[in-house]
Amino acid sequence: MTHLAELPAWAQLLASFFILVGAFVTLIGAVGLLTLRSFYDRIHVPTLGSTWGAGGILLASIIIFSVLQSRAVLHEVLIAIFLTVTMPVVLMLLGRAALYRDRTEGVETVPPMEAVSGLPEDAPDETDGK
C-alpha cells in the first residue's frame, strides 16, 4: 500500500468517496436483481452497475493514477464509453427476446402483438424490422 500513501489527502478522500459510491450502487443493483419479482422489473437494475457503479470506480481510478503519474491518465474512459454504448444494446436485445418468448408461449401478462403495433385490422401486413 505504499503507492497509496504517496497521494495527497484531497485525492485520497475524493477517490475513497467515488470508490464507495460505485461499489454501493453496484450492490444495490445486485440486491434488486435478487429481490424484484418479474423479469421485466429485473431488467432495469443491471444499469445501476453499468452507470454509476462503473462510473464511480472509474473516476476514482482516473483520479488515483493521474495524481500518481502526474499526467492525465484517461484510458479508463475507454471502458466507460464502451459500457455506455453496449449496455442499452444488450438490454434491448434481451428484453425483445424475452417478450418474443413470452408471446410465443401465450403468457397472459405481456401485451399481445396487435396492441403493440397499433395498426388497424385492414392495414396491409408490414414487417416491423425484426
Binding site: L4, T26, V31, F39, P46, G49, E76, L94, Y100, R101
Partner: protein
C-alpha cells in the same frame, strides 16, 4: 491517516462487490427462465470487471485494467450472442 481511509474504502469496496457477485450468482442459479440467467450473467461480468478495477487501484498496476477491458468486450459479445440465441434459436443466420 488518509492513506488508511483509502485502504479501508478499497477493502470495503471489495467486500461490497463480492456480495453483489454472490447475489447475481444466486439469481443465475435460481432464475426461473433462461433470460433471467442471461441477465444475471451480464450483471455478473460487469461486477467482476469492477472488482478487477479495484484490485488495480489496490496494487497500483495497470495490468488489471487490460483484463477489465477484455472482460467488458467479451461479456458484451457473449451476451448479445446469447440474447440472439434466445430469440431465434441460432446465433448466426
Amino acid at each position: 491517516m488518509s492513506a488508511t481511509i483509502l485502504m479501508w474504502s478499497v477493502t470495503i469496496a471489495h467486500v461490497l462487490l463480492a456480495v453483489a457477485m454472490v447475489c447475481q450468482a444466486i439469481r443465475f442459479i435460481r432464475g426461473p427462465r433462461a433470460q433471467d440467467r442471461v441477465m444475471a450473467f451480464d450483471a455478473f461480468y460487469v461486477s467482476s470487471m469492477l472488482l478487477l478495477l479495484t484490485f488495480g487501484i489496490r496494487t497500483g498496476t495497470t495490468l488489471y485494467f487490460e483484463a477489465a477491458l477484455v472482460i467488458s468486450l467479451l461479456g458484451f459479445v457473449s451476451t448479445v450472442a446469447l440474447a440472439k440465441f434466445l430469440m431465434r434459436g441460432e446465433v448466426i443466420e
